[in-house]
């Protein structure tokens, strides 16, 4: 296997604002053509991390290398405009006084302007809009202009700060797929910041889960979902409810019976733990002597999600088939799906 070139390498980055640590000792590496998703709730420091990489903020400590040359350490601070990277802002930051064409070519320095423009208009499907002003475009079009403007400078690395959050739900999926295609075809490395796990999972090769300024886990999307290393990662990686259980050998015993462990031997026998459950982990069966009860039903169109109250008064979310006669107040039993394994954490 050929070893890929490193595009970005951050070591021990920290940055605080007025004594709150926004970025806390973050290290990460990014390779050619790779897309890294940074997933975290608002205020977790993910935008600050991007701005540090871009050079729009100066870290309190740490080192940043772009394409193997140091752009930031305790002695050096290469300013943003010399780092050869691109950034797509949450609000796109299109220049309101310039046309689409002027926006796209703003940072383009070589002479073959028409070729580049036509290529980018083609790539981002903006043909025929080059003389319009940003306020005459739809949200999705503005998004693509921002992307084209960034690609025009042929950056080594693109940083995207919640690029889809200003689009409505129906548009988001399309634009997400388009961005994915454009990134793949332009072979540019990208860091993609989002609070939406679905976005992070579908677009990224690897996902960094951030919380309170720290990267909690950095792994491929399926690993984040199935092998979360902390309670926070489990919650950020998908809908997640916790029930209490006690470890014994390779299983954890809970009010819903003995459940198989994903990682056995993590805790000694007899440890009281929180067991993470996903909505797909259990099967609902109706039973007049069932020990659980349906308390609520949420129909979203594509799926039915039921809130089930356990004898311990804990409430779990469970998916159920779309055609169903379950209703609130019904007694049911929950049985774990045969192939599911469970992650446990200290409460």
């Amino acid at each position: 296997m050929i070893k890929k070139q490193s595009v970005l390498s951050c070591k021990n980055l920290s940055k605080s604002f007025n004594s709150t640590l926004a970025v806390n000792n973050v290290s990460l590496d990014l390779f050619e053509g790779e897309t890294l998703g940074v997933l975290g709730s608002s205020g977790c420091g993910k935008t600050t991390l991007l701005r540090l990489i871009a050079g729009l903020e100066t870290p309190d400590q740490g080192e940043i290398k772009i394409s193997n040359s140091i752009v930031q350490n305790s002695q050096t601070h290469i300013p943003t405009h010399k780092r050869n990277l691109g950034m797509v802002f949450q609000d796109y930051a299109l220049f309101p006084h310039m046309t689409v064409k002027q926006n796209i070519l703003f940072g383009h320095k070589s002479s073959n302007q028409t070729t580049t423009l036509n290529h980018l208009l083609e790539l981002t499907r903006l043909n025929g809009l080059s003389e319009r002003f940003p306020n005459e475009l739809s949200g999705g079009q503005q998004q693509r202009v921002a992307l084209a403007r960034t690609l025009a400078t042929t950056p080594d690395l693109i940083l995207m700060d919640e690029p889809l959050s200003n689009l409505d739900a129906s548009l988001r999926k399309n634009v997400r797929n388009e961005i994915n295609e454009i990134l793949v075809s332009s072979k540019t490395a990208c860091i993609f910041v989002t609070h939406d796990k679905e976005e992070a999972f579908t677009i990224s090769d690897r996902v960094a889960v951030m919380d309170e300024g720290k990267i909690e886990q950095l792994d491929p999307p399926d690993k984040i979902y199935f092998w979360p290393e902390s309670k926070n990662v489990a919650i950020l990686g998908g809908t997640c409810e916790f029930i209490t259980g006690i470890i014994s050998n390779k299983i954890v015993s809970t009010v819903l019976g003995d459940l198989p462990l994903r990682k056995s031997g993590e805790f000694p026998n007899g440890t009281k733990v929180s067991v993470a459950t996903r909505p797909t982990d259990f099967e609902i069966t109706v039973s007049p002597i069932g020990m659980c009860m349906v308390v609520d039903k949420k129909f979203t169109g594509d799926e039915n999600i039921f809130s089930i109250q356990l004898p311990t008064n804990e409430i779990l979310q469970c998916k159920h088939k779309i055609h169903t006669s379950l209703f609130a107040g019904l007694k049911v039993n929950l049985t774990a799906n045969p192939h599911t394994k469970f992650n446990t954490f200290l409460p």
């Binding site: 405009h81 990277l85 930051a93 703003f106 940072g107 940083l159």
Partner: protein, 523 residues
Amino acid sequence: MKNNTPYWVLIPSIILTIVIIAPLVYLIFKSVNADSNIWEWIFRWQTLLIVIRTLTLVATVSIISLIIALPLSILTTKTDLPFKFFFTILHALPLVIPSYVGAYLFMTAFSPKGLFYKFISNYFEINSIPNLYGFWGAVIVLSLLNFPYLFLTLRASLIRIDPEIEESAKLLGLNDFSIIYKIIIPQLKPAIFSGILLISLYTLSDFGAVSLLRFKTFTWAIFLEYETGGSHSAAILSVGLFIIAMKLIIFESLLNRNFRYHAIKSVGQKTPLILKLKKLKIPAVLLCLIVFSFSLLVPISVLSFWLIRGIYYGEIVSVDYLPIFNSVYISMLTTVTVILFAIPLSFLAIRHKSILGQALERLSFIGFALPTISVSLGLVYIGARIGSPIYQSTFMLITGCLILCLPVALGPIKSRLLQINPNLEDAGKTLGYSNLMSTFRITIPILRPGLIMSSSLVFFVTMKELPAVLFLSPLNFPTLSTRIWSYTSEAFFAKAAVPSLILIFCSSIIFAIFLYKSKLDFS
């Protein structure tokens, strides 16, 4: 926080702060060092009288301006008044008449044996009309010429009131007049206070009208002391005037602090609610016409009378070009200087909120409280200390005008800069432009409408400026304003007509540019 304020922002801001504070510091220094007999002279009955006269004038002008401006602003924004656009322009226009021109016209028209007396004595048997010099003259002139400041402030606020609030009031069963009393006027309170503050400060620092109408307030008293060589007493009075202005500003901010919850959101494309005037339509139009007649029609007619009379008697046939050239020259230099300093200061205030930046911005705000005459006097004394080449140089005059015009210029630039997304400059940087280049290629072009508005305001204010020019201009440097003032004080009324008309004409053009750029939004 970030403390990477660029030098092009920091250095002009520091220079500016020093320039603004220097005259005040010097005046305080001079006051403190005054002899005890001067302090005794200050603490006498007449000084208290000056304070009372000044404050009475300020209060009366404010109240009368409010009585004129409030109904007019509501009529031109919230009702189906006919010719709304036309009346809006007409009620803004009295600003082009400087107070000393207003006073000159008022004196010649309403003196005991003036034009008005001659006109009505053709029809009635009267010996003379009551003397309206002094207090009432100053009140009438300043109210009629200054009410547009309040009118424009109120209008700007009225346009921003969210029509959904009025519509929900209507749905809750309020009739049109209850909407005005219970919904619109309460929301206007902050604008009323800040508009009155504006009028108070202008009245407080007015020199032209009170000096010509012989009403001895602070400004005229300071001028008389200065003329007769009482530099220490002039300094003490100037500091006193500054303290009154400062108190007014603090009082206004205390009043308005309780109204922060009135945050009015931007309206966007919503159509405003229009109240139907019905039977009140004719009285409303009459009210607008009456205000127009007294604030604009009468002054222009009297001015035309003097012009025609002057031409008829052959007093003036040639136009003196030197004062026109000097006025335009000074106004242009001031405009360029003010804009060059206002841009960095706005960036400091809005983009670089460092501790130093905030301190500098607060200090530069003092410029807003500094009455013209205090600034000019402080600069004159500093200039006299340093001597040539500073004393009585154009440089000194421009410095004075810079301090006076800065608060005026900052408004449009700052509000425009606030609307510009700071991410735009960051985007420029990620696209390969340095900090400075991003600012100049992206932010400055978007700022342009604000810059044009500020420039026209500064040009306009400098053209009209009288006391600063009287105190600071080089020897033998006549401007339109000083010519009008000296002709009027020496009772060459016909001679004053030509420069007055030229000044009003030039001001109107500049003012029209401002009105056009602000799209009658006057934010």
